[in-house]
Amino acid sequence: MGLTFSKIEGNSRNFKILLILFAGFTAIGFICFMVSYISGHYVLGSSNIIPWGMPITITIYLIGLSAGSLILSSLTYVFRKEEYRPIARLAVFLAIILIFGAMIGIALDLGRPEKSWRLFMFFVLNNMRSMFAVNGILYGGYFLIGIVYLGAIFAEKYKFVKTMGIIAICWAALVHMGTGAIFGFIATRPIFYSPIKPFEFLAAAMVSGLALLMIIVVLTFKFVKRNFDRDVIFSLSKLLLILIIGLAVMVLIDKLTHLYPPDREPTIWLFTGPFSWIFWGLQVGCAYVLPIILLSHPRFRKDMKWVMVAAVLVVVGIFGERFSLVIPGTAYPLPFYPGKIEGIWGMAGSFPITPVESFMSLGIFTLMGLLFLVGLKNLELLPVGEMGQQTPEITQKT
């Protein structure tokens, strides 16, 4: 397959506008981060009852998306599916950017981000019983493996690439399960506490990653103006349907377990309280019900437009799933003592949306967009189209 990859020229007006736009929002995000760093986290939405806010939500979301990209690249380099080769390089690159964005998200959430090096002093200064410290190994290793993998692809050493691809998939699975374990091993928070949480995270990661991947495949081919086999997308959509059903079953079991005593109040509160619209609307509606209907309907599943709608719904809905785990998961008051606890200690927490946190979160995404554009310009990621066309406008906003 005589596929050549090249850099994009990046001289068009749109490319430059996009670059400036992303850089501007990244700068605003950085300023917001400095504000929260210098003046304290009271400018964010998190508090003592909801300690983890938007940055952690975005982090686990991005870690999930990162998986899908790596899985796609493995389809080419490990399972020899040549039809994905044009976007395989892009997929690995995207996975690296996404995990980088996730690590930035963790750093933004830390109270003292200048001490984040302490997370990587494995076995020396770290308490290795903490899932957070274990995940430091997993995230760092994932980042390094991704870079070596991409380097091997650029060097076109395909035997080595295959080995790295296998390692990368296994490591990606570990990363997602480890992230789930951060939440799943906390006995204090009934919404978090579940042995199925690592597997739920893995399934959610594969679902959101695969949906993002389908969007990127379609967009990329549209911009590169190459014809491609539409059956590829439809076969991926079948896989997506199966994964969504698997994820929905796992979430159902998880939530059902929590509806049984003991500790049923937090889950009932999640279903009926102020965050219920996120759970029912985004998580159940957008991520499970609507895509399952669209992808199993005899007419819609044959229509590229509706398959794309389903993929977008999944990508949005999985964000809702992350949100409805992280924020309501800690918001319900702890049962310190039998009886109704009066006053603020018995009230569920609220999560105000603050401008600083919103721009900071936006900054994570624009930083990744910026890195993506810079990568397109400087690395040979995109295939040269049949008519020799380049693709300056390509803008997957991850």
């Binding site: 508090s47 009852i49 300690p51 302490r118 903490s130 006995a187 978090f192």
Partner: protein, 252 residues
């Protein structure tokens, strides 16, 4: 001593006043008599004064951003006219199986040899995982730079050149804080050879007007806390989580 805790410990001198020479370390604990507690919040105020815990504004309290090392909860059961409200003061429970120690990635919170769970602000990276894991809500995140002069405490023992943690002259935002059982008082008393539990106690115990709180060595059979625990029925909060906490309550 567990491996990961080695090197983190304060050098606590031996305790000459203890009768049993084999026993190296006390296990500090607190007993709170709910029968005597009137809910006057003297313990909360004493704690704020002793440890310079910043006072929050009503707005901060509403958003749950103020720092409490010792809080008072009111739990109501029943309906009027058959109603009962119990007031429960809650310091950090200093669990023997502390979930916060398990989850802290940076070893910033750890169990001292004498059973006190302390938080090292210098190591804390502010990831808030311990706040998520604590079953008693005993931990608070310092989310605002506080005024400097509020923390100038020349009267506290100048220990910071020895080990550097306490008293923290410039407390910083972005770290998690919690009750320390006033370990600066305990360490100072051990140096001076005073008897802990009678002569020297944590600030909340000292200031309790109803003498509802008692502090002492749970392993010492002659201490006041051991006497109370053996003479009356006691409860610990959230026993189902198996935290083996060292704050005991004597119910009404």
């Amino acid at each position: 001593m567990r491996r990961e805790e080695r090197g983190n410990l304060l050098p606590i001198p031996s305790l000459p006043y203890l009768p049993n020479a084999e026993r190296q370390m006390p296990r500090w604990g607190m007993v709170i008599d709910l029968d005597k507690c009137v809910g006057c919040q003297a313990c909360s105020t004493a704690c704020k004064n002793e440890n310079n815990v910043p006072h929050g504004s009503p707005d901060e309290q509403r958003l749950r951003r103020d720092i409490y090392w010792n809080k008072m909860i009111a739990a109501t059961s029943g309906k009027y006219p058959r109603v009962n409200t119990e007031l429960i003061p809650m310091p950090c429970m200093h669990c023997d199986h502390a979930p916060c120690v398990t989850v802290c990635p940076a070893k910033a919170t750890y169990r001292r040899e004498d059973g006190i769970i302390v938080q090292d602000f210098r190591r804390c990276i502010g990831c808030k995982y311990c706040i998520v894991a604590c079953p008693y809500g005993a931990r608070s995140f310092n989310s605002k730079e506080q005024e400097e002069e509020e923390y100038y405490r020349p009267d506290l023992p100048p220990d910071r050149d020895v080990w550097g943690q306490w008293p923290f002259p410039t407390r910083t935002h972005g770290v998690v804080e919690k009750c320390t059982f006033c370990f600066h008082r305990i360490d100072q008393a051990i140096k001076e050879g005073k008897k802990i539990g009678t002569e020297v106690v944590p600030a909340c115990v000292e200031d309790c007007p109803a003498e509802a709180r008692k502090f002492g060595d749970l392993d010492d059979t002659r201490s006041e806390v051991s006497r109370l625990l053996s003479s009356r029925g006691w409860i610990r909060l959230r026993e189902e989580l198996d935290t083996k906490c060292k704050v005991y309550y004597l119910p009404k």
